[in-house]
Symmetry: C2
Subunit: 102 residues, 2 copies
Amino acid sequence: MVVEHVDIAVTPGREEEFEAAFVRGREVLAEAEGFRWARLLRQIEAPSSFLVLIGWDTLEAHTVGFRESELFGQWRAVVGPFFAVPPTVVHYAGELTPAGDA
Amino acid sequence: MVVEHVDIAVTPGREEEFEAAFVRGREVLAEAEGFRWARLLRQIEAPSSFLVLIGWDTLEAHTVGFRESELFGQWRAVVGPFFAVPPTVVHYAGELTPAGDA
């Protein structure tokens, strides 16, 4: 399993709108081949900063399958308007399946 | 629940030693009051970079209870020798309990 790690700086004052948009964005992600789960976490020290963690079957399920599909545009259309700057994305190898997810 | 997020740059060439040390370090963490779970992830783009995620009951369980206990010194003694630079720590609010952990 691969974990996509996305650091998102949200425009200050729009945090609650972003959280609501993420619920819709997650439904888009869930349509992607190789998607396993997604979680949204809000930073305590800097509450306009969020961390999105997404579990994928493989690295390519994200970097090729998802990013080259029309789902990527849908995801960005839903959550992108709340980004203060382009997000930083890296990937990690390791086991992190959250409880309640397959 | 609070998730401690630790970015760790390991001295290149010592990654496997660090991974072995983390197994022992995790046992130290698990003795702390308010500890719930810990996971180690290795970055794909930069394989000397690791992410440690630790679930705590509260922020203070980590920042006060753990850091002011002798367990903190034990943890750093086990894993610290492999750090290339001091790690970066932030905390997130949100649900991320991994499968298999209470």
